[in-house]
């Protein structure tokens, strides 16, 4: 067991736990955000860098601070480690700058994006982002890629978190899904524009933190915040059959896996449950699903989780305007 202090809150966790998991055990506002780390997927994490934290004391034995900010999702805790997340200005500034980086090539087409309302990047930029844009160059764009009858890939929105690549690698049998290209020209691809064809392919939609991979049976049908989530199950021969139905009135508009407050699925579900069973009669309804996230899907619960983030950031001088004095 290791004792670790995160933002002044002490917790004892098992050896081999990451800082992020320890923080999630404490819960609340001190949990670092994560865009690429995904608990159920082995090897994910370390890429988006939004979960950077400052380790001010490495361990009880070695009390030196770590020289750089570390990615909390892949750094293991040591006994006596002291971590600063929301209490450290350096961390908040770094996070803000990374959100800015993530947004420079993101199209910000939230008004027409199906992910809007349950988008991790939307939440993140609301919490840590800057309200002005310093990037004036042309954005990187891609053509839309058709991945078969169920999945739409819209690379322009992708933040290259690699979650879908790990999903394709780890829960489906024949991997057809990977990253092509390099740098900001890198793209998720099924070489070459192959149709993803297996029973669990739909899960890449669930793991996508943004609207890059969307459900074709749901696209443009409705907005997330108008639908009511219901827990339901059915006797499925291929998967557990435990799902969340997103309904409007009597109509089942969308079926997803059950996700927790960090957007991580409890159990992956199969394509039959996800795409084909869209009648209320297919399901045994358990009751309303409580969405424990501060986002518009849990209507009226959108609040600033980190209170000490200055909302007006360090804007370049040219964009600051003097407000007229009354």
């Amino acid at each position: 067991m290791a004792k670790v202090t995160i933002d002044g809150i002490e917790i004892e966790v098992e050896d081999g736990t990451t800082i992020l998991q320890a923080a999630r055990k404490i819960g609340g506002k001190i949990v670092p955000p994560a865009m690429c780390y995904y608990g159920p997927l082995k090897g994910s994490g370390g890429k988006c860098r939004v979960c950077l934290v400052k380790v001010t004391q490495g361990s009880a034995k070695d009390t030196r601070p770590m020289p750089k900010l570390v990615a909390s999702c892949i750094t293991h805790v040591q006994d006596g480690m002291v971590v600063e997340n929301t209490t450290n200005e350096e961390v908040l500034n770094a996070r803000k700058s990374i959100v800015e980086m993530l947004l420079i090539n993101h199209p910000l087409d939230c008004p027409i994006c199906d992910q809007a309302g349950e988008c991790n990047l939307q939440d993140l930029s609301y919490e840590h982002g800057v309200s002005a844009q310093r990037f004036e160059e042309e954005r990187r764009t891609f053509n839309k890629v058709d991945l078969g009858p169920y999945i739409q890939l819209h690379m322009t929105r992708c933040i290259l978190c690699y979650r879908c690549v790990y999903t394709a690698d780890q829960i489906t049998e024949k991997r057809v899904h990977g990253v092509l290209g390099r740098g900001d020209a890198a793209e998720i691809g099924t070489y070459i524009e192959n149709v993803i064809d297996n029973d669990f392919s739909g899960n890449v939609i669930d793991v996508c933190p943004v609207g890059a991979l969307t459900d074709k049976t749901w696209r443009f049908k409705n907005r997330v915040w108008f639908t009511k989530p219901l827990d339901a199950h059915r006797d499925c021969p291929t998967c557990s059959g435990k799902v969340t139905l997103w309904t409007r009135g009597e109509e089942v508009l969308r079926v997803t896996a059950r996700k927790d407050q960090y957007n991580e699925v409890e159990e992956f579900i199969c394509n039959t449950c996800r795409f084909d069973k869209k009648e209320t009669s297919d399901w045994t309804i358990e009751g309303p699903r409580h969405i424990d996230r501060s986002s518009v899907i849990s209507a009226n619960h959108y609040e600033l989780p980190v209170l000490n983030v200055p909302i007006v950031p360090n804007l370049p001088v040219s964009t600051k305007k003097n407000l007229p004095q009354e």
Binding site: G45, G46, K47, C48, R49, V50, L52, K68, L69, A71, I74, A94, S97, I98, E100, M101, L102, I104, N105, R134, F135, E137, E138, R140, I159, L160, Y162, G178, V179, G181, R182, G183, D184, A185, A186, P316, V317, S318
Partner: protein, 448 residues
């Protein structure tokens, strides 16, 4: 002439063949190490020699070797990093082309020291012709019983493989190199675990530069203490410097660490001065990723001491007034060179070579390139300079591997030392974009 450790026989005709190489004392270290020394003794010799990694970071090689985890029954690997792709660096390519057996001898001796029975030379994809030279040399070594089972009757087995990469800069980063060597996409790994614990195929691995490995035979032959006598302080031994740019004699030079920079630039033994009798403007002393230094700071440190070609002296003053030894790519700029254009060029390289795995580097390198491109072509704004500084700062230190730092440092340093030139470019777009236009403000100030 200083002591030549790596290049003593490099110009002997036929040195690339085993026969000539052996005639000139080749493979002596293999015999000495395998027959008379224990692996620990070899590691100890390298430790005393103070040999530092020649790939760029300058981490002591002996120390790196001693960190190698040695669990029972698990194979260990030595990987030679011959993926030399830093702009300005061409020493390893030249050395391997001229003297392939020098590297192979180093690989055998080093693998023996580390207890590795399989070793790899990971070579850059563009260097296919050198791969053939190496393979020919390896075949000769196998035929002579210097590789394979029971080398020279000592009971030690070693297989040496050469693997080409696809020509990506990022695969010079050690964990990306290992991924690529495993046949995967060359993305750097998250550290820890470090390669010394979990490297190639999740086994303990040491990754060393060509030049580092090639220095080991001399250390084994002449003892580490002898090697430590060469050079100054913690910068021991000799170093290959790839000198390029506006100098009279560009090329690879083996110098004893400690030669004054001024002597290196102006003496006829080395660079032979600036070409066409022009004035020195700036120097990038260690490859494109290290900070650029203006003429006055490269010849003398901020305290007015003479700057020497050592790890310590080149980094004297930190990044404010100093730079780094890096991989020893000495790029010289004369008065007719435009720093903005050069910085944009470097930035373009890093934009192209960023692997795209972590967000600050993927997005930031492209952003910097686009802004620099705008400034260079006369569309910049005054606040772009501060923007560049801020973006560089946002990338630095927040990435998985050092490529982010390498992309940020040259931009930050160019603005730090040549801010007036950037401002001139933005203020006078017409003059700046005219062919052959160069800002002379700083130079004139120095001359006046």
């Amino acid at each position: 002439m200083g002591l030549k450790i790596l290049t003593e026989h490099i110009n002997v005709p036929g040195i690339e063949t085993l026969e000539v190489y052996r005639k000139h004392g080749g493979y002596k270290s293999v015999e000495k190490a395998l027959k008379t020394m224990s692996p620990e003794e070899v590691v100890e010799e390298v430790k005393t020699s103070g040999l530092r990694g020649r790939g760029g970071a300058g981490f002591p090689a002996g120390m790196k070797w001693s960190f190698l985890a040695k669990p029972e029954g698990v194979p260990r690997y030595l990987v030679c990093n011959a993926d030399e792709s830093e702009p300005g660096t061409f020493k390893d390519r030249w050395y391997m082309e001229k003297n392939p057996h020098g590297l192979i001898e180093g690989m055998i001796t080093s693998s023996y020291a580390l207890g590795a029975n399989t070793s790899y030379i990971y070579i850059r994809g563009e260097l296919m012709f050198i791969l053939r030279i190496l393979e020919k040399a390896i075949a000769e070594a196998y035929a002579a019983g210097l590789l394979g089972k029971n080398i020279l009757g000592s009971g030690y087995d070693l297989d040496l493989h050469v693997a080409p990469g696809g020509g990506a800069y990022i695969c010079g980063e050690e964990t990306a190199l290992l991924e690529s060597l495993e046949g995967k996409r060359g993305n750097p790994r998250n550290k820890p675990p470090f390669p010394a614990v979990k490297g190639l195929f999740q086994r303990p691995t040491v990754v060393n530069n060509v030049e580092t490995i090639s220095s080991v035979p001399w250390i084994v032959n002449n003892s580490g203490a002898e090697y430590a006598k060469v050079g100054i302080g913690r910068s021991t031994g000799t170093k290959l410097i790839s000198a390029s740019g506006n100098i009279n004699n560009p090329g690879v030079y083996e110098i004893e660490l400690g030669v004054p920079v001024e002597e290196f630039i102006y003496s006829d033994e080395y660079c032979g001065g600036i070409w066409k009798g022009r004035q020195l403007k700036a120097v990038v002393p260690g490859g494109s990723s290290v900070p650029i230094l203006p003429a006055n700071l490269i010849l003398k440190t901020a305290e007015g001491e003479q700057r020497l070609m050592t790890y310590e002296s080149l980094s004297d003053g930190g990044f404010v007034t100093g730079s780094m030894m890096g991989s020893g790519a000495f790029i010289v700029f004369d008065e007719a060179q435009c720093i903005v254009r050069n910085t944009w060029n470097y930035s373009r390289f890093y934009h192209h070579e960023s692997c795209g795995q972590c967000s600050p580097c993927r997005e930031g390198t492209g952003w910097m390139e686009k802004v620099l491109h705008r400034i260079e072509y006369g569309h910049g704004h005054q606040q772009d300079i501060d923007l560049l500084v801020s973006v560089a700062k946002q990338i630095e230190g927040n990435t998985i591997c050092p490529l982010g730092d390498a992309a940020a440092w040259p931009v930050a340093a160019a603005i730090r030392h040549f801010r007036d030139e950037f401002e001139w470019h933005i203020k006078h777009p017409k003059e700046a974009t005219a062919p052959g236009a160069v800002y002379r403000g700083q130079l004139d100030a120095v001359t006046a």
